[in-house]
Amino acid sequence: MTAKTLRQPLPLRLASAGFLAFWCLLAIFPIAWIAIMSVKSPVDAFSGSFSEVLTGPATRAGGAGLSGIDLVLGGAVILLLIRWAFTGLPGLVRRRTPAGLLALGWLLGGLGYAVLFGAVVFWLLPTVLGPLDAALGPLGAPVIGATFDHYYAVWVENAFYRNFINSLIVTAGVVTISLTVGTLAGYALARSPSNLAFWLLIAALIFRALPHSVLVAGYLPVFINSRDWLAPIFGEAAPTLYGQPYAVIAVLVAINQPFTIWMLRSFFQNIPTELDEAARVDGCTHFQAFRQVIMPVMWPGVITTGLFSFLLGYNDFLVTSLLLDAQNQTMVPAIASYFNRETTTTDQVEAIAAAVSITAPLFVLVMVFQRQIVSGLTAGAVKG
C-alpha cells in the first residue's frame, strides 16, 4: 500500500488537528483557570474580562505581584526542579536504596523531593527575589499580580493541614488494605474457572454498580448506635464508629473491593499459568507460589490498581461527608464548608485555593504515572 493512497486530504487533517486543539483547550481550561484565580485578589479573580484575571491589576495595586525578573528566574528554577525530578531523581533513588526496599526508597525520595520543592518555591525564591526586586528599581516593578495569601489563609489560618492528614490516613489505609485483600482474591479468581468464581465476579459487578448512598443508608444507624451493640464485646470502651477515620477506611475498602478484584484479576490473567505450575512442581504451596513467584512479576498491575484505589479514597465525597464529623473531615468534604458559607468573595477565592491544593497532588500523579493509568483503564476493557 503506497503512502499516497493513505494520505489524508488537507481539509481533513486540518479539521482533525483543529478538533484536537479544541479538545485540549476544553480539557485544561477549567483547571488552569481556577489555578490562576487562586493567586489573584477576589476583585481580579471574579472579574469579567480575560485579561484582567490574567494580569490582575487589583492584586498588583495591592502590592502583590511578580516582576519580570521574578518570572524569568523563578520560572527557570521551577522548570529545572521539574526536569531534575525526571532525570536526576530516579538515578539517585536507585543508587541510594538497598535492593529489596525500592518501594520504600521511592516513598522517601518522593517525600524528600516534595519538601525540597516546597522549600525552594516558598522560602528560597521569595527571600532571594524580594531584595533583588527592590534593588533593581523599574526592572523589579511587578508586571503580573499574584498573591499566595489565600493559600496561607487556607493552610495555616483555617488549619487545612488537619484535613490533609485525615485524607492521608484514609487513602493510605484504603490503598494498603485494598491491595492486600484484593491481590489474594484476584489471584484465586484468575486461576479458577469454576462456577463459584464466576458468580463471585458477577456479584462484584453488581456491587460495583450500587449507588454508594444505598450502602451508607445501611451503615449510618449501625455506626451511630455502635456503642450499644459493641458494649457486650468491649464493655465500657466500646467505640462509636461514627466519625472514626478507621471505620471509613473499612467502608471504602469494601466499596472498592469489586473494582479492585476485577482489575487485579485481569492483570493476573496476563501472567502465564506455567509459572505457577513450575513453582508447584518445585514444591511450593499455592500461597508460596503466589508470594514468591507471582507477586514479583505482578508489581506493574499492583501499582496500577493501587493508583485507582488511591483515587477512590482521595476523591470520595459522599461516604466521608456522611460518616465523618466536622473534626475528622477529609479534604474533599471539608471544602463544602467554604462554598456553603458563600458570604464574601474572599471565602470563595479561599475555596478555590483549597480546591487547587486538592488537585495539585492529582496533577503530579498523572504526570508520574500516566502510563500506568492508561494501562489500568484498558486492562479491564480489552479483557472484556
Binding site: 469579567g48 489474594l184 463459584l196 458477577i202 459487578l205 473499612a250 467502608v251 469489586p258
Partner: protein, 340 residues
C-alpha cells in the same frame, strides 16, 4: 486450584464484601419497613394567667416527647409496612395529576423529579460521551507521534480530577458574572443568569459529565484503534471504500465490544449522578436519585435523620441498577458457559 485453597484466598475479600456491602443491603431493605420515632405522650396542661377576680385558667392537651431516666428522648421502632415507599412515591398525588391532565405536577414530588433528571442525564450523556471519545481517539490517532503523549496527559486531567472539584471548577467559571457568563453575555448581547433556572444548570451538568468521562472513553477507544486489523483496512481500500465507509464498516465494528464496555460503565456511573448536585448547589432546581437518599440521610434542623425514607428511596434506586444489569449479566453467563 482446589476449592479449599480457593476459599482461603478469596475469604478476606469475600468477608469484607459480605459485611460491608451485602449486610448493609439487607439491613436497608429491612429498615425501609420500620420507622424509628421519638415516643410522644399527650398531657393535659393547665395554664393560668393572673386576672381579676379569679385567675383565667385554660387546659389544653399538648404532645411532648417522653424522656427516660437519663433524660434522653425515648424512641420506639415500629413496623409501618410500605408507608415509607408511599411517602416517597406519593402515588395518590400522581394519580390526581394524571387524571386532571396536569402531568407537570408530578415533578413537584421529589422522587419523580429526581427520577426524571437521573434518566434524562444518563440517556443524554451516553451517546455524547461515546461520540466525543471516539472523535478524540481518531484525532489523536491521526496526530503526529510526538504530540500523542502530551495530549493524553492533558486529556487525563478532567478524568482524574476529584468530581466535586471538577464540578466546582465549572461552577466558578459561570457563577455570578464569572468569566464564561460574561463572555456569553458579550456574544449574545443579553443578560444571562446561569444559576437562576433549572435548564441552564442541567446544561452545565451535562457539560461537566461529558468533560469528565470523555477521556475515559477516549483512552479505551484509542487502545482499541491500535489493534485494528491493517489487512482488512487495506482490502477495504482496494475495494474502493471511502474513508467514512472504512470507519463505519471496519473500525467501528472492531471497537464494538469496547463501545459496549464504555456504555455499561457510563450507565452505571451516570445513574449514580450526585456530585453535580452538590457542586452546583442545585437542590432547589434539580436533584438526582442518589442525592435524594443522601439528603434524607443528612440530619435535618432537629438533628433527626429520615433513615426509613432514605432506605425506601435507596431501594427504589436499586430497581434501576437491577434493570440496567440484567442484560450484561445474562450475556456474561452465556459466555462463561460457552468458555468452559
Amino acid at each position: 486450584m482446589k476449592p479449599r485453597v480457593f476459599a482461603a484466598f478469596v475469604a478476606p475479600s469475600l468477608l469484607m464484601m459480605l459485611i460491608f456491602i451485602a449486610a448493609p443491603l439487607v439491613s436497608v431493605f429491612a429498615q425501609s419497613f420500620y420507622v424509628t420515632q421519638p415516643v410522644f405522650e399527650r398531657v393535659e396542661v393547665e395554664t393560668c394567667t393572673p386576672s381579676f377576680p379569679t385567675a383565667i385558667c385554660t387546659t389544653e392537651t399538648k404532645s411532648r416527647p417522653v424522656l427516660d431516666e437519663a433524660g434522653e428522648v425515648q424512641t420506639q421502632t415500629r413496623y409501618v409496612g410500605l408507608e415509607s415507599y408511599r411517602n416517597m412515591l406519593q402515588l395518590d398525588r400522581v394519580g390526581e395529576a394524571l387524571s386532571s391532565g396536569r402531568i407537570g405536577q408530578i415533578l413537584n414530588i421529589d422522587f419523580w423529579s429526581a427520577l426524571r433528571f437521573t434518566l434524562m442525564f444518563t440517556l443524554i450523556t451516553l451517546p455524547i460521551v461515546i461520540v466525543a471519545g471516539l472523535a478524540i481517539a481518531l484525532a489523536v490517532n491521526n496526530a503526529v507521534k510526538s504530540l500523542r503523549g502530551p495530549v493524553i496527559f492533558i486529556s487525563l486531567l478532567p478524568f482524574i480530577i476529584t468530581p466535586v472539584i471538577g464540578v466546582l471548577s465549572i461552577r466558578w467559571l459561570f457563577i455570578g458574572d464569572g468569566i464564561l457568563t460574561a463572555f456569553l453575555e458579550n456574544m449574545l448581547a443579553r443578560d444571562i443568569a446561569m444559576f437562576a433556572q433549572g435548564w441552564t444548570i442541567e446544561l452545565m451538568m451535562l457539560f461537566y459529565r461529558v468533560w469528565h468521562v470523555a477521556p475515559f472513553a477516549f483512552v479505551i477507544f484509542y487502545a482499541g484503534l491500535q489493534t485494528v486489523n491493517q489487512d482488512t483496512l487495506e482490502s477495504a481500500i482496494v475495494d474502493g471504500a471511502s474513508r467514512w465507509q472504512r470507519l463505519r464498516f471496519v473500525v467501528i465494528p472492531h471497537l464494538g465490544p469496547l463501545i459496549t464496555f464504555v456504555a455499561l460503565i457510563h450507565l452505571m456511573d451516570a445513574y449514580r449522578a450526585f456530585e453535580e448536585i452538590v457542586g452546583f448547589s442545585s437542590q432547589s432546581h434539580v436533584i438526582s436519585l442518589q442525592w435524594l437518599t443522601y439528603d434524607l440521610l443528612q440530619p435535618d434542623d432537629a438533628g433527626n435523620r429520615a433513615i426509613s425514607r432514605a432506605s425506601a428511596s435507596a431501594m427504589l434506586t436499586m430497581i434501576g441498577v437491577v434493570i440496567l444489569l440484567i442484560a450484561p449479566v445474562r450475556r456474561a453467563w452465556r459466555e462463561h458457559k460457552g468458555f468452559r
